[in-house]
């Protein structure tokens, strides 16, 4: 399952399963815990800005807030314990407010979602798409460019930036289907039943015809 589909379908039970199985962090997945839901501490703000910058400068990804990730016995960074967030709605509101300030230029399409396990308590998840307009600088006191490789954070070098600024613009093609459905009449019927539906084929995703 790609990370966009995971963002759309994830439930608190899935996160509990990640913790139970010791899900590893990877190119498109990061676990974070926060000190305060108001995101006032310097560490929380910088953490958010760096992660936003590194995901959008790489190939996008998900941040799951409210999970403690530590190295396990084999030295692998993985989900180890829940660190559920109280005042979840406040966190979502703060994340929405900070998204516009955390990186420069602003990233389009960043989404935040609350996953409640109890009233106003639980996890949050952030979807960060890959940007076509990068590179994006982490702000909120950081003022550096980052990228992600594997489960690690790298400060971008001069040649990385040179490459990104000079990168050729790319097309993003999608295919649209329109199904005109006609049910031909049988001998005894006089009506021809017709229906029409339209759908997009985005990618990569799980599709359902509507």
């Amino acid at each position: 399952m790609d990370f966009v589909s995971l963002f759309n379908t994830i439930t608190p039970a899935d996160i509990a399963e990640f913790i139970r199985q010791g899900q590893e962090e990877h190119l498109h997945l990061d676990f974070k815990r926060i000190a305060n839901a108001d995101m006032r501490t310097r560490d929380d703000r910088r953490n958010f800005a760096c992660t936003l910058s590194r995901f959008t400068n790489s190939s996008g990804g998900l941040i799951i807030w409210g999970v403690d990730a530590r190295k396990n016995a084999q030295g692998i960074d993985c989900a180890s314990a829940p660190a559920e967030i109280t005042s979840l709605r406040q966190l979502i509101s703060r994340l929405n407010a900070l998204t516009g300030e955390a990186v420069s230029p602003i990233v389009d399409g960043v989404l935040h979602k609350a996953l409640e396990t109890a009233l106003d308590t639980g996890y949050a998840i952030t979807l960060i798409p890959e940007s076509l307009t990068g590179p994006h600088m982490a702000k909120l006191g950081e003022d550096r460019y980052y990228k992600r490789s594997g489960d690690s954070l790298y400060r971008m070098e001069h040649f990385d930036l040179e490459d990104m600024f000079g990168r050729r613009q790319k097309p993003e093609l999608s295919l649209r289907l329109r199904h005109d459905r006609t049910q031909h009449p049988t001998k005894n019927e006089r009506k021809c039943i017709s229906a029409c539906s339209t759908m997009d084929v985005p990618s990569p995703s799980t599709l359902a015809f509507s």
């Binding site: 050729r168 999608s174 019927e189 990618s203």
Partner: protein, 112 residues
């Protein structure tokens, strides 16, 4: 089934094309596309390729013609295995099921 291409990117899409393999379908008419079923034994398939025009990133879909097909087994889904591509974009594949419509009788259709 009508096919159209849309460019949501930031550069023109050159050499755009797609390939569609149908399951549980029989092609009746292929209009503006190439019927390549003979190259894919036993499986109805069509392809589209345009090396003369580009798809501009302007939010306007470019209609790439259509096919008329017949559902072989009325109770089963028709499945479209789609691959599409253009220059400077990695090819993308997806599987699109078209659910079989509910069976309609003359009486129920006149009621609706």
């Amino acid at each position: 089934m009508h096919f159209s291409l849309l460019n949501n990117g930031r550069a023109v899409a050159k050499h755009a094309g797609f390939f569609v393999k149908f399951e549980n379908a029989e092609l009746r008419h292929v209009i503006g596309l190439q019927n390549v079923s003979h190259l894919n034994p036993g499986q109805p398939s069509v392809c589209y390729y345009d090396d003369r025009t580009v798809v501009h990133p302007n939010g306007i879909s470019m209609h790439a013609r259509h096919v008329i097909f017949h559902r072989v087994n009325a109770c089963q889904d028709v499945v479209l295995n789609i691959t599409y591509y253009c220059e400077d974009m990695k090819f993308r594949s997806d599987k699109v099921p078209l659910p079989s419509p509910p069976l309609t009788t003359a009486r129920s259709s006149s009621a609706t």
